[in-house]
């Protein structure tokens, strides 16, 4: 998400699941949609069957997605940037780009200011001691009018377009093959097929998931893909997009709500401690347009922020107290999960509450996590099922070899209702919010999360009310005026997220447009004076005056384009394809009849979807389709918005079998998230010559379904996938036991020797890859296994801090089966 935002403006799947039916070409890379999202993948097989679309899969393994693909290309884990940059180079050097789109809808024409440079893998501004970039040179040249300078001919040497040509020239097919191990013919076929969509007649969709994010340079993987799609003009069009296939059923909604260290719902930011006042916070984020006539929607940041504060602190938030800004906690650093577990490991954290989260399994370097958990005073697991984390203190032989007597952590397991035992809304990967209805009574003594958290909150607040204590004021300021404070209903909570008018809202002429107490129909109605509330502006409209639109169940699709505009509610403002203004040319006409979607009918923007645009702005005004960005266009070059550079660079994984063949001076992403303490836990290729990658299996969902009988039946036991060549080299028998170990830990499993994994030639050397499914552990009904993250390295992406689960080094040997 931290790459789509800087490129397009919003960090979410650009198109919808059902829109994939409109595609002509699918690239599945950095993911395995058939395996991880089977029911969404149907729209790929549908496009193939009904439109004759082609499917390409690029993956270290021949996956289930590859099983139904038209073309498969192998790749070494962690080299996606090199591969994709090779595609960018192919498109640019063969002039296979959608010129008009690139010129008008991207920042290709923008001039970069003097001082920006890129040398031997490093951008200007690198501070080696801090391992961070000073990003001040990564900026546009600003003209006298205060707007960024452009050269619409794209010829200026400092134009983004020319910089791009230069930057990517090194990624020749030979180089790609050297780095990624992909045979050149297989790589070139991918390029050729992608190039066939750079014309407005055909569209390509890219489907990715954690195979791209879980790298120390994960965000740049996605950036590379986004650039390809922009060069081909595949963003904002039906059947196009960069589609982030997200993991959990409501991970999109929960990301929206922002239970993340530095977030406020709706992609607003939690203040940092160097922003002591509301104004100092807002000032940095209320972006002015960088070009005339641009929407630059974040100009409204202040309205959304104040509305949030009104929902959070209710009547206690007043203009006088800056709507309670002081009460909000202020960040000193970002406490992402890697830092969280680093602090836990250091004994600096006393209490950990896990709500539907199994960190012992999920966080990199499980041994580090386990040691940390034992230092906690209190661990609370709020989960429908028992997790390995909740039982981390229990001895499970070689799978969890601990001595309970030595672990002083108090642990509670609180039974919570399952999905079928509660009502509420969920937001799918393509941003569609839909309601679910309670189907059964709570299981045994279980209670809903809401009841449990309300109970906890009310108890703590009561204790502060009666006994006092530190920080009582901000705690007691939080608005909790629900009808039943012990159990706020899903209905009133969704209403609260949507927002309402607190006083009669009037237009400039004094006419009342929204009565006090009425729900808001759109975030356009939000005010920054405290006269509206609304905890999450992007959801405004889901529960407007017309009622709870997430409950809509009209599956009519009059356009036949899979829009389903009256099914649930898709944020923002019920748009199904984001940036859909880009489906028409600068004059407002569809790029082609084949790709007709939203267009200017002479009076307004119309089409099967809600325009992602002010519907009445005529094409003549040249307002860009990427309304969130101050430029109005998307960014091929992302200025200082990413920590590790405005263009992608091929960085080797932190544990890599080779020296970076493109930039030998680079050792991993120079701006990656890494703690000095962890440096000794990295292995090298001498001791650990084999590349490992982790993934989930279609039969399982993370660490839940190892406790689900039927899923344990269809995939009962941890295994290690490897090529026939590696098995022969190591004397490993098909179905025999093997041990896989990294510098950090060791696991045992059955060998699945397969033709679907092949050794690759990297920079002249043979490199083997083993595949490690992640779904097994020591709690459940499936066979016990060591947590796979006992092997993975504690290094995170420079932007998202996502750990590098997808590429690290191990060694493998045949063993006699475990005794346990």
């Amino acid at each position: 998400m931290s790459s789509l935002g800087p490129t397009f403006g919003r960090g979410a799947m650009t198109n919808s699941w059902t829109d994939i039916r409109n595609t002509d070409l699918v690239l599945v890379m950095g993911g395995n949609a058939a395996e991880a999202h089977p029911c969404g993948f149907k729209w790929v097989t549908e496009a193939k069957a009904e439109r004759g679309a082609k499917l390409m899969v690029v993956d270290p393994r021949f996956t289930r997605s590859a099983a139904v693909a038209d073309h498969y290309a192998p790749i070494r884990p962690g080299t996606d940037v090199a591969f994709l940059s090779g595609v960018v180079n192919y498109l640019l050097s063969n002039d296979k780009i959608h010129k008009e789109y690139v010129r008008h809808y991207t920042n290709a024409a923008y001039l970069v200011k003097e001082g920006y440079a890129f040398n031997e893998g490093f951008f200007s501004g690198y501070d080696e001691s801090k391992a961070t970039y000073d990003r001040s040179s990564w900026e546009y040249e600003i003209g006298a009018d205060g707007y960024a300078v452009r050269d619409m001919t794209l010829e200026h040497p400092r134009s983004v377009f020319q910089l791009m040509k230069k930057h990517f020239a090194v990624y020749t097919p030979e180089m790609v093959s050297r780095v990624s191990g992909t045979p050149q013919d297989r790589f070139l076929k991918v390029c050729d097929w992608i190039a066939s969509t750079a014309n407005g007649e055909r569209a390509m969709t890219i489907m990715y998931a954690l195979g791209w994010t879980q790298h120390s340079h994960g965000a740049q993987n996605i950036r590379s893909a986004a650039m390809i799609q922009l060069l081909c003009g595949n963003i904002g069009v039906p059947g196009g997009g960069v589609n982030a296939l997200r993991g959990h059923s409501n991970v999109q909604g929960i990301t929206d709500v922002g239970t993340l260290t530095a977030a406020i719902p709706g992609y607003l930011n939690l203040p940092a401690e160097n922003e002591p006042t509301l104004e100092s916070h807002l000032g940095k984020r209320t972006f002015k347009p960088l070009q005339a006539n641009q929407t630059s929607y974040w100009q409204n940041y202040r309205k959304f922020y104040v509305s949030f504060l009104k929902s959070f602190y209710g009547t206690k938030a007043t203009p006088e107290n800056n709507f309670g800004y002081d009460w909000l906690p202020k960040l000193d650093v970002a406490y992402d999960c890697l830092r969280m577990f680093d602090l836990i490991n250091q004994g600096k954290t006393n209490v950990l509450i896990c709500q539907g989260f199994n960190p012992l399994m999920a966080i990199a370097d499980s041994n580090k996590s386990a040691a940390g958990l034992a230092k906690l005073k209190l661990l609370v697991s709020i989960d429908p099922i028992e997790t390995d984390t909740a039982r981390f203190w229990e001895n499970h032989g070689e799978f969890n070899n601990v001595d309970p007597a030595k672990i002083q952590t108090e642990v509670f397991m609180l039974p919570v209702t399952s999905f079928a035992e509660e009502s509420g809304s969920l937001t799918n990967s393509s941003r569609c919010i839909s309601w679910k209805w309670q189907a059964a009574d709570p299981y045994h003594d279980s209670r809903t999360d809401v009841v449990i958290l309300a109970d906890l909150f009310n108890r703590i607040r009561k204790a502060y009310e009666t006994q006092g204590g530190k920080g009582a004021e901000p705690l007691l300021a939080v608005d909790w005026s629900y009808k039943n404070p012990a159990e706020p209903s899903a209905d009133e909570l969704l209403k609260e997220l949507n927002g309402k008018a607190l006083v009669d809202l009037k237009d400039a002429g004094g006419k009342v447009t929204r009565q006090a107490g009425s729900q808001l129909a759109s975030f356009g109605e939000m005010r920054d004076d405290g006269s509206t509330d609304g905890a999450m502006w992007i959801y405004t409209g889901v529960y407007g005056p017309a009622g709870n639109l997430s409950q809509r169940r009209d599956n009519a699709d009059p356009s036949g384009l899979g829009v389903y505009g009256n099914w649930g509610f898709s944020w923002p403002a019920n748009r199904r394809i984001q940036y859909n203004r880009a489906s028409a040319d600068p004059e407002g006409k569809p790029w082609s009849e084949r790709k007709k979607y939203m267009f200017w009918n002479g009076e307004r923007w119309t089409g099967p979807d809600v325009p992602d645009y002010v519907p009445t702005i005529p094409p003549s005004q040249a307002t860009g389709p990427f309304i969130m960005n101050p430029e109005g266009v998307s960014r091929l070059w992302v200025r200082g918005l990413m920590a590790d550079g405005p263009f992608p660079v091929h960085y080797e994984p932190f544990e890599s079998p080779v020296t970076n063949p493109v930039f030998p001076k680079l050792k991993g992403n120079p701006a990656a998230r890494i703690f000095q303490r962890d440096r000794p836990s990295f292995g090298d290729a001498k001791e650990f010559p084999i590349v490992a990658t982790t993934y989930r299996l279609v039969e399982h969902f993370h660490y839940w379904t190892k406790g689900v009988h039927m899923n344990a039946v269809v995939q009962p036991e941890f295994f290690v996938e490897m090529s026939e060549q590696l098995a022969a080299e190591k004397g490993i028998k098909h179905g025999g036991w093997v041990r896989v170990w990294s510098k950090r830990g060791s696991v045992k499993g059955k060998a699945v020797v397969t033709k679907r994994l092949k050794p690759l030639t990297i920079d002249g050397r043979t490199v083997h890859t083993v595949g490690l499914p992640l779904n097994f552990g020591f709690i459940g009904v499936a066979r016990k296994a060591n947590p796979i993250n006992g092997l993975t390295p504690p290094v995170g992406d420079a932007n998202s801090q996502t750990p590098e689960y997808k590429a690290f080094l191990v060694n493998v040997e045949p063993i006699v089966g475990p005794v346990a």
């Binding site: 239970t259 992402d336 901000p474």
Partner: protein, 199 residues
Amino acid sequence: MNIEVSRRRFMQLAGAGAAGTAIGALGFAEAEAQVSAHVKPFRLVQTKEARTTCPYCAVSCGMLVYAAPSKASSGKLEVVHIEGDADHPVNRGTLCPKGAAAIDYIHSATRVKTPMYRKPGTAKFEPCTWDFAMERIAKLMKEDRDANFVEKNAAGTTVNRWTTTAFLSGSSVTNETGWVTYKVARGLGLLQIENQARI
């Protein structure tokens, strides 16, 4: 629903001929009532149907959950079957191997039935009451908060943060639960809040 309509259209397109051959009335020459000793009775008859969303991945498939009063547990509504919601535009009634087995998640052998407590240094969980659990957790959290809450940082800026307690939030809970979670965690002054979005 239009899906039904389009199905009929398919039947015609596919050259099946008369509308009577549509699956809805599956061409059975004698469609009238016929009780059979052989064909098992349809087991969803007289169950209660509810529409929900699959708890697993972010395709968020529409599901139909069928429940019936439990025999074991004093008439509580208990799930007896789950299948895909054919009306849902994304999954169109399909489910993956996890969704199709979701009933076993509800009835999992590792489902937590009642609050459980593990005392320091012991080797087992013991059941406890909700009241005990919540009171104890609230007490320990307040102790930690009182000890470690930072009202102002070294520079004197009001920061109102509590950094010695961490909250990992689930990504499969509802938006409404997410919002309550946010409000509670942030309201307490927590900065260590994360969910699965990052991993």
